[in-house]
């Protein structure tokens, strides 16, 4: 690391371990169990709060795009609206259906939520504020987030309903296809970073963000990532798995009450995860905006804490993805697949070669 701008570690949590083992005299395994519980509760809280915030964020933005006010009755500026929604969902009846495959029907929400919670835990919020820090972090993230497709396919198949079957197949084809583009643009950036560790990738960007460092290929990879990420979350112009005018609600038509709530939660969290990954790969994660040799500017930027940078970038990118949704009309399945396989994939392969050339000839900044 040649960075001159290493920030102080935001949270030092080793004190808790000392407290548990030395003051309370717990056995190491018991201490680790308690700590795992604490981590789990922490993930749950942040996950749920973020999902609720995102529901509010999207509803307000969607209202603004349509010249409406949006939720404004429950709490100040409607801030408690999504809490009310979640509570409503919790007290709705979970209907028992007759002709479904019960085991798979119950399993599907677990897979969808597990995929998003595990991917969520990989994101770095600040220097050292990160749950799972593998040296193959970004690869792990792609791997676990693809479990979500399984959940959606199972949900559609096990519901024994024509709409859900069509919805889940569309969703499967779409998510699986666009995963290639995500994978390839991540490979492009891994080439530039030289590491798959999420912390390492962010550390590499301490002098300049990759979107500026990587010349043209980084820019192309960013655009492709944003398009593919929008498709991965089943949103925006790519929401044909749940095209409400033709398939009622797509793959989660038969789910009721809180059962449906999980798909809803995971969808919003996936929006956050996609923006989070884009911000850590291209916009420097929690790194402040640094411009080489502008030392005064860099020092001012260092005063803003890392998690504000990270969340700010995430919300900005989510804004762009929500903007897509309210701007473009829905695609047809053949257009969707043609966009991926005939445009994004060849461009992406070409872009990878371009990035290799840029690195080999040292053209990046």
């Amino acid at each position: 690391m040649t960075s001159g701008y290493i920030q102080a570690q935001f949270l030092d949590t080793t004190g808790v371990h000392t407290l548990l083992t030395e003051t309370l005299h717990l056995a190491p395994w018991a201490a680790v169990t308690v700590e795992c519980l604490l981590v789990g509760v922490g993930i749950l809280l942040v996950y749920a709060l973020l999902a609720l915030f995102y529901i509010y964020y999207e509803r307000k933005l969607c209202a603004a795009f349509q010249c409406r006010l949006g939720p404004n009755r429950v709490g100040p500026w409607g801030l408690l609206q999504s809490f009310a929604d979640m509570f409503k969902m919790l007290i709705k009846e979970i209907i028992h259906l007759n002709h479904i495959d019960r085991f798979l029907f119950a399993l599907a929400p677990y897979l969808v939520i597990i995929a998003s919670v595990m991917a969520f835990a990989v994101l770095p919020w600040n220097d050292g504020v990160q749950i799972i820090d593998f040296n193959i972090g970004i690869f792990f993230l792609i791997a676990v987030s693809s479990i979500g497709v399984l959940g959606i396919l199972l949900a559609g198949w096990s519901s024994n309903n024509k709409f859900t079957l069509i919805g889940s197949l569309r969703s499967g084809a779409q998510m699986v296809s666009y995963e290639l583009s995500i994978g390839l643009s991540v490979i492009t950036m891994v080439c530039l970073a030289g590491t798959m560790s999420v912390t390492g990738i962010v550390q590499e960007q301490s002098d300049l963000w990759f979107i500026f460092k990587g010349h043209v290929p980084a820019l192309i990879a960013f655009v492709i990532y944003m398009i593919a990420g929008t498709a991965e979350t089943n949103r925006g112009p790519f929401d044909l798995p749940e095209a409400e005018s033709e398939l009622t609600a797509g793959y989660h038509t038969e789910y009721s009450g809180m059962h449906f709530g999980f798909f809803y939660l995971a969808e919003y969290l996936n929006l956050f995860i996609v923006s989070g990954v884009a911000s850590l790969l291209f916009l420097g994660g929690w790194q402040p905006l640094h411009i080489p040799s502008w030392d005064g500017f860099n020092m001012v930027m260092d005063y803003i804490p890392g998690f504000i940078w990270f969340l700010g970038k995430c919300f900005l990118l989510s804004y762009v993805i929500i903007w897509f949704k309210w701007t473009y009309p829905r695609l047809r399945i053949d257009q969707l697949l043609a966009l991926e396989w005939k445009y994004l994939l060849p461009i992406n392969l070409f872009n990878l070669v371009l990035m290799v050339l840029v690195i080999v000839f040292g053209l990046h900044f």
Partner: protein
């Protein structure tokens, strides 16, 4: 690089399993609470599929368009090949020219596969 141990947990695998169990716990607890506090009523009509109002004809776990299957196969091929690109991408600078040449051959096969599928019409939605 700064070590990012959380509390005393040094092993990221433990944390990954914690995250997985957190996901399971979230679904389980929320469903349990929902079952506790939600109302229940019984009506034979409620168990039917939500389609169009009249009883569903036949089984819905039926045949579907072959195109989905074709794209799944194509995806499998490309995804496995991108997995092989990842280790090379990390070690690209160390592997140097040898690595570049061998990955170029591999990459050529990948592109040929795409061109073949394209020419065969596998990318058309019929």
């Amino acid at each position: 690089m700064i070590s990012t141990a959380i509390f005393g947990i040094q092993n990221s695998g433990v944390l990954a399993i914690t995250a997985l169990l957190t996901g399971v716990a979230l679904v389980f607890l929320a469903l349990w609470i929902a079952k506790m506090i939600s109302p229940r009523s019984f009506n034979p009509q409620k168990g039917e599929a939500y389609e169009c109002g009249i009883p569903t004809r036949g089984d819905s776990m039926a045949q579907f368009h072959i195109g989905y299957y074709l794209f799944a196969i194509l995806f499998l091929m490309f995804d496995v090949e991108t997995v092989f690109l990842f280790p090379w991408a990390v070690k690209m600078r160390e592997l140097g020219v040898d690595g570049l040449l061998s990955i170029a051959v591999f990459f050529g096969v990948l592109v040929l596969g795409l061109v073949y599928a394209w020419r065969k019409g596998a990318l058309e939605w019929k």
